[in-house]
Symmetry: D3
Subunit: 253 residues, 6 copies
Amino acid sequence: MPNPMKDAWRAGRAVVNGWISIPSAFGAELMAKAGFDALTVDMQHGIQDYASAVACMQAIAAHPVVPVVRVPWNEPGIIGKVLDAGAMGVICPMVNSAAEARALVDACRYPPLGQRSFGPIRAAIYGQAGSYFATANEDVAVIAMIETKQALDNLESILDVPGIDGVYIGPGDLGLSMGLQPMLDRKEPEVLAAYDRVLEQANKRGIIAGIHNATPEYALTMVQRGFRFVTVYNDAATVATGAIRDVAVMRKG
Amino acid sequence: MPNPMKDAWRAGRAVVNGWISIPSAFGAELMAKAGFDALTVDMQHGIQDYASAVACMQAIAAHPVVPVVRVPWNEPGIIGKVLDAGAMGVICPMVNSAAEARALVDACRYPPLGQRSFGPIRAAIYGQAGSYFATANEDVAVIAMIETKQALDNLESILDVPGIDGVYIGPGDLGLSMGLQPMLDRKEPEVLAAYDRVLEQANKRGIIAGIHNATPEYALTMVQRGFRFVTVYNDAATVATGAIRDVAVMRKG
Amino acid sequence: MPNPMKDAWRAGRAVVNGWISIPSAFGAELMAKAGFDALTVDMQHGIQDYASAVACMQAIAAHPVVPVVRVPWNEPGIIGKVLDAGAMGVICPMVNSAAEARALVDACRYPPLGQRSFGPIRAAIYGQAGSYFATANEDVAVIAMIETKQALDNLESILDVPGIDGVYIGPGDLGLSMGLQPMLDRKEPEVLAAYDRVLEQANKRGIIAGIHNATPEYALTMVQRGFRFVTVYNDAATVATGAIRDVAVMRKG
Amino acid sequence: MPNPMKDAWRAGRAVVNGWISIPSAFGAELMAKAGFDALTVDMQHGIQDYASAVACMQAIAAHPVVPVVRVPWNEPGIIGKVLDAGAMGVICPMVNSAAEARALVDACRYPPLGQRSFGPIRAAIYGQAGSYFATANEDVAVIAMIETKQALDNLESILDVPGIDGVYIGPGDLGLSMGLQPMLDRKEPEVLAAYDRVLEQANKRGIIAGIHNATPEYALTMVQRGFRFVTVYNDAATVATGAIRDVAVMRKG
Amino acid sequence: MPNPMKDAWRAGRAVVNGWISIPSAFGAELMAKAGFDALTVDMQHGIQDYASAVACMQAIAAHPVVPVVRVPWNEPGIIGKVLDAGAMGVICPMVNSAAEARALVDACRYPPLGQRSFGPIRAAIYGQAGSYFATANEDVAVIAMIETKQALDNLESILDVPGIDGVYIGPGDLGLSMGLQPMLDRKEPEVLAAYDRVLEQANKRGIIAGIHNATPEYALTMVQRGFRFVTVYNDAATVATGAIRDVAVMRKG
Amino acid sequence: MPNPMKDAWRAGRAVVNGWISIPSAFGAELMAKAGFDALTVDMQHGIQDYASAVACMQAIAAHPVVPVVRVPWNEPGIIGKVLDAGAMGVICPMVNSAAEARALVDACRYPPLGQRSFGPIRAAIYGQAGSYFATANEDVAVIAMIETKQALDNLESILDVPGIDGVYIGPGDLGLSMGLQPMLDRKEPEVLAAYDRVLEQANKRGIIAGIHNATPEYALTMVQRGFRFVTVYNDAATVATGAIRDVAVMRKG
């Protein structure tokens, strides 16, 4: 079980990612059939915990989509758990320094690259236990969120930490940290300049960059800008806006 | 706690209903905020059981929306349970005869109108236990699905059963039963004629008629036709079609 | 694993029963330590389903208390499931005729006494599978609720059905059926006369009678009257009234 | 999504089935990887309810194994729910007469063959909604349990009901009904004679016969006898006997 | 959605708080109706996790009660999660130094006051996303537990950390730390002197002080002493003591 | 409620331990009946979270088996929670230094030995709250995993930390850390030499040593070597290998 997301990156293709905030394996299945390259269970801001994240990963395993988890925080306990449960990618919020990046790699990589503990109880179901170990350090995508001014200040040293595969921009928090309102699909020149700097430094090191978006239309512009992991869909937002729209049609009618 | 859905019907207004198929209280909350008059937890075809139905009703109770449950079948055990848990309306599938309509009323109404057992454990939280009993037979909406040729054949006798507040057309099953494909938002003249007959007979007896729809646009035409309970939104369909649409935008881009 | 509840009845002692309406194994444990003879998971009016009932029975198994389940209705599927999951007693609502009593016995007793299907998956954990079968028909308590005028009319024929161990009076529904308000701890002479008739006919046949009460004080009078299975505690009521009382102390203070 | 189990039957091959009694999607995944042709979630005697059955079916969907559910009883509500949730086979306990077989078919087949209500919410994820409907009546396996003397007496009329694909022998209950102990892997001549009669009558009508076994060794003899759906593994028994064995090794050592 | 708890404090009123230890949304609803000003889900010592905490907060949202969570520990991952899920107050155990108080504020406040990550997925349901952000730093109550001698030693520096709204005394742990038995409703002079010192220093800075109590009678004395957040009720204790009392009545009778 | 595991150690007997990876209370019950001295819920690599760990501990409480939890990481929040929920032993992964051992003891022991917060909500159900406190520091087994070269380097200082009752070897991670493949039941001389060194240093201090094994046969050799806590059974492995074996028998047949 190689990681198709990494194949895409090696081929220069952008990975289209969906976002699972609703803690329902059935909702996850509906999304998995839609053709995303990857689906991310959001354990940070989503209404998800470990049990629901596992259920979502089980439910999407029947479909050709890479299971990714955004962990709630840079804590080795939960990072190890989601990897053992089969996540092929980990997105970690608030990686603001090289030390934090190093801690993230330690939690995600087996020795000698890191200090992940061995026991891929569900992850190894889809391969042989031996083969999982043989390739996990290569296959698992480790993605650090760059979402503060501090992270931008430390960008190069963060990116220099061996074992980081990608960075992921959180436009809401990054804006907040820059004294702006929290929002997605941003257009402020200073923000876009920061994006370009992240892309440039990441590309230079063979690291991909990703970004969280509110709409596929904006996400397309980000792919053109150079991002290779773009989130374009959020189940909770879709449920809410669809409901609001349908009610509005009725109230007008 | 009178039932605002019944107030709407008394005032001649149509009730706009959403459909909860995903077993998530959080998803239900998102819908509850959108402005529906009612939300129905679908325990028949939805991925819902009693526990998830209760959780959904708890989650929407903070919003001015009437909790309705479509039960899996015309069985008194589960009907009593959802009413005790606070459903202010019950939609029952496949009511094909006066005897089945009578069984439905028996399960939903306290004596002497029916044989519902007393114990409104959660329903009474929102009122006094005594006041719930005093008005439950009046407030609870009992809605029988008319969705087979047999039901159409027995329509008058079904509608004559005291205690039925409404009928609800299931266009998929009704079509199937008429030898057509199962689908919603139908336009076949013989189907529309059946709808009109249901409306006519129901109106004659002060019973409202409702219908399951795929789109609010079609639902508006049904309101004009005379339906007073129209489902216009389904969370599962919304999650799926939104995802397919967003992926398509990306693949084209 | 003989059934201590039946031992008590054979010895002429009354069984003190608690009522589990809150679907929490932890809450059930708290009750199990209090010294009840039996605890009943209420799947009819309680916020309980099969999964929560199993969890409650697992949680109380460490304590010397007999696990009983009130099933939602006289349906063989759920009756078999709770027995297989370890219930040593079944209380069935709304047994209004000999035919319904016979159906209840069929669901609870192995052939040749009834038609229960063999597979005591959890029940047999606490004995040997072979020994469970050998004594289950003797050990399981089958208790029919007498809670309508119709049941009173059919009382003798219901009690004559072989395999019924006990009857249980639901004062709320019985009152409703007699044209009274639904309430517990009743004092109307015609109701008490009905209780006495149930006691007399049951005793005559070696069947015990039980009753649902709101307070232990009233329950004691029922024990004196002859009842041998008395419910005296309800977790939901206790949580609610305790909270109301404590808030009142504060508001006065 | 044709049903590989039916393909096997058409080709004369026996289907090797595993039995899921532990309500854990993770346990189900472990089994799904072992190479069974089918896995059956046992909602009758297993510690399973609808929610856990759905979770198990979601978890095994990534593997080439046919999802089957044994329902708790011959009740249309739960039968429709498990089919809508994706079961490709239904095993129904205690089908003792042609009328009960007819009710089972009604619950499992769309009109005009039966009266199943349309709404394959999860089942259709793995195909197009339209294509599911087109082939469901052909693809879904409807399997009636023959496990009482009464069923043997009515065998021919049960098998003559159109829409039954298979019968499944429950050796425990069948033995009980014949006045024997409940057990599996039976060797009594009168029981084996009954098996042969079932096989003969089923084969004559193009219906397959299946049987519940405790060991694969015995199951092989049943395949040779003519059974084409053989259960050979039970997760709960495996957990228990494995634990007992390992503890015994330690206590001896 | 301003925070009524903060309004009370501004008006000098004491907030009456209940404690949810049983992981049941239904139990929480029963409490919510009793008239508490606030209800706290105890994720530290209660049998609560994130999923049950969310369910409890959903269930009480229909009632005018402020949702508070005591987190298991001073860890940013879980603090962010409960705030995003709608907690309007956070009680954090074992804040023993200014550095720990600063970490707590960082986890609870958006920049520039702290480093909370933006994504109020459920919290924003009850307002507009924009309006939640605008007022969250003002509305969310951040409450540090003072429950060790070390915390008393560092009291002034802890209280000087900007962004702390309140302190909460844990009498059990505080006693333990002072070499006494762990208990509530304490009367030792040295303990009461410590309480008074906390009150004095907190008041001086416009910070409220709260305390955990076993009885409303004792809590009233604490209100008179100056505490403005008093816990007076615990669901688990209520279930247990009520059961013990009712059983005792029966055993005596 | 003294801890029988500690009694065994005082008597020089080895404790036979089973491993619960499948998040099912029912599976745990099956294991509990098999005669293990202890059962460990694996929250690190098992598919377990806090809620499932509590359910497993509730389910095994009816059997004479000591409940142990392997926590996901050396974090005080979760350690306190599992102890409050009734764990009588804690196994903590990756204790690599005296400081980490000290943190573990702080999380597990009440003052003055450590800094555990008082609130044994479920733990105290099985004794009196007062008696739990009186003996918890003595009864709870605190077990540090030695599973890296770094831990071996720091072995003596780790073992010198007051309050550590035992060490537990993780052969997979230890091997990894030594540049070997991750596996159990190891035979490499350098690994066995490390085991002996751990045993010698632990014994010298009255600390027991334990080890994770794949088979009881190997575990017996470890008991002879001096280990006094040996894991011999894993539910997930048992389910998987049993299924593979039974399918293989069928495919050969």
